[in-house]
């Protein structure tokens, strides 16, 4: 079996992207990230070049952390990210990635498997300990006061938005976002065109953002509405 010693390079942003949101964030200029040539990168990893592993980490660490955080929460996040990279590197070295240009799909598959395996393990643990009324959870049920406050703020803003629009518009948003009805169904039943539907959603989002920014100016809640980390891939 291949032994891979892997440690994240220093100086990389470690904050999970999933913790960024803080609700409303300022729109930034769109630019696609500059990514390395996958074939060259895979070749360097296969050859055991530490710079290749570092580059792999640099490209995927935030995305892997983002995915794991969304699915599993913060608990042992760094360990899970580390395990994922180990598995990716070992698999590449064993030659399991036959088409280097499919590297993104390959990493995604491994991350998904990691999520499924973790959930499986937790469910198994809970089943074993059911008699003890153990409160283990896959869901990260921690109640973070700051996040609760942000969520409350955002809900209040959205209540203001919903109160300010017509009953019909409110019904459309409720059907789509709360009741999970499809756009096609809503448009058919409420006699709407796709453009009208999109426009309504777009207006609601824009009003949500506008009210959020207004609150930001009126109250010292800057941290709730600001982007909290740099985005090197932008």
């Amino acid at each position: 079996m291949l032994q891979v010693s892997f440690s994240p390079p220093p100086g990389r942003p470690e904050e999970p992207a999933g913790s960024l949101p803080r609700g409303l964030v300022r729109r930034r200029r769109s630019r696609l990230p500059r990514l390395p040539d996958w074939a060259g990168l895979v070749e360097r990893i296969r050859a055991g070049d530490p710079a290749g592993m570092e580059e792999l980490y640099g490209v995927f660490s935030r995305g892997v952390r983002f995915y794991l955080y969304r699915q599993l929460g913060l608990q042992e996040l760094e360990d899970k990210v580390h395990d994922t990279f180990l598995i990716v590197i070992q698999a590449i070295r064993r030659g399991e990635l036959r088409e280097p240009e499919r590297l993104m799909g390959f990493v995604r598959t491994i991350v998904r498997r990691q999520v499924v395996a973790y959930i499986d393990a937790v469910v198994h643990d809970r089943r074993e300990q059911a008699g003890l009324h153990c409160g283990l959870g896959v869901t990260d049920g921690r109640s973070d006061p700051e996040q609760d406050a942000i969520a409350r703020q955002q809900t209040e803003i959205m209540e203001t938005v919903l109160r300010s629009i017509s009953r019909r518009d409110r019904e459309i948003l409720t059907r789509f976002y709360l009741q999970g009805q499809s756009q096609a169904q809503i448009c058919a039943e409420m006699n709407l065109t796709d453009t009208q539907f999109r426009l309504l959603k777009s207006r609601a989002k824009s009003r949500f953002g506008e009210l959020g920014r207004r609150r930001l100016r009126l109250r010292p809640l800057a941290r709730f509405f600001r982007r909290t980390s740099a985005a090197p891939g932008d």
Binding site: H133, M158, F208, G233
Partner: protein, 204 residues
């Protein structure tokens, strides 16, 4: 030479992914893009914040916001107390019966079980004594036509089981009324090999 990761995700795609309406192939492509695109990660987070806020706000607001009624000046006719009292009793009886019937016939309550972890909504909440229309997020799960869904009590006792067909990146099923308490909703593949996902559900 640089690798091509395709264009940034559209607003519709991000929203479809967040609410579970995106097809499997599109979701796969988007997830790959998200792995390397910080900007789209941030946009997805924003989109989810908007959706969560909208859902919670829609739950908080009454279905029909009160509207001001026009003032009307009208005069009661002179009451004859016996028949009036009888009328009141009949009305109370009818309204009680109607209220009970409305409660029994109440439409199912929509509950979204989302694969969003570690954020501000740790577990889905639902009212007790009501049929629940459960919408389960299948984002990130294997491309299978249907799944098995178990509802277990906090002690792990199986209470309900259903086979739920995939509809895009979500699945929908109806649950019978539940007593107040903590429950776990588990999703399995078919044929059943192991649990794919588990959601917390608090009934209050």
């Amino acid at each position: 030479m640089l690798s091509d990761i395709g264009p940034h995700a559209s607003e519709d795609a991000l929203e479809g992914y967040a609410v579970g309406f995106l097809g499997e192939a599109e979701a796969e492509s988007l997830e790959e893009h998200l792995l390397v695109c910080n900007r789209c990660q941030d946009r997805l987070v924003e989109t989810e914040a908007f959706i969560r806020a909208t859902r919670q706000a829609a739950r908080n607001l009454p279905a029909e916001l009160p509207e001001a009624l026009p003032a009307r000046a009208w005069r009661l006719p002179r009451l004859v107390w016996g028949p009036a009292l009888a009328g009141v009793v009949v009305l109370l009886g009818i309204s009680g019966w109607w209220g009970l019937r409305r409660h029994q016939d109440a439409p199912p309550v929509a509950v979204a079980l989302e694969a969003l972890r570690g954020d501000s909504l740790p577990a889905a909440r639902a009212p007790s004594g009501r049929t629940l229309l459960l919408r389960v997020d299948l984002n990130g799960l294997p491309d299978s036509g249907s799944f098995e869904l178990d509802v277990v009590s906090a002690q792990g006792r199986l209470l309900q089981r259903a086979v739920v067909p995939r509809a895009g990146t979500a699945a929908q099923t109806t649950l019978a009324k539940l007593e107040p308490g903590q429950y776990w909703v588990r999703l399995y593949d078919q044929p059943r090999r192991g649990p794919l996902r588990e959601f917390g559900l608090r009934v209050e």
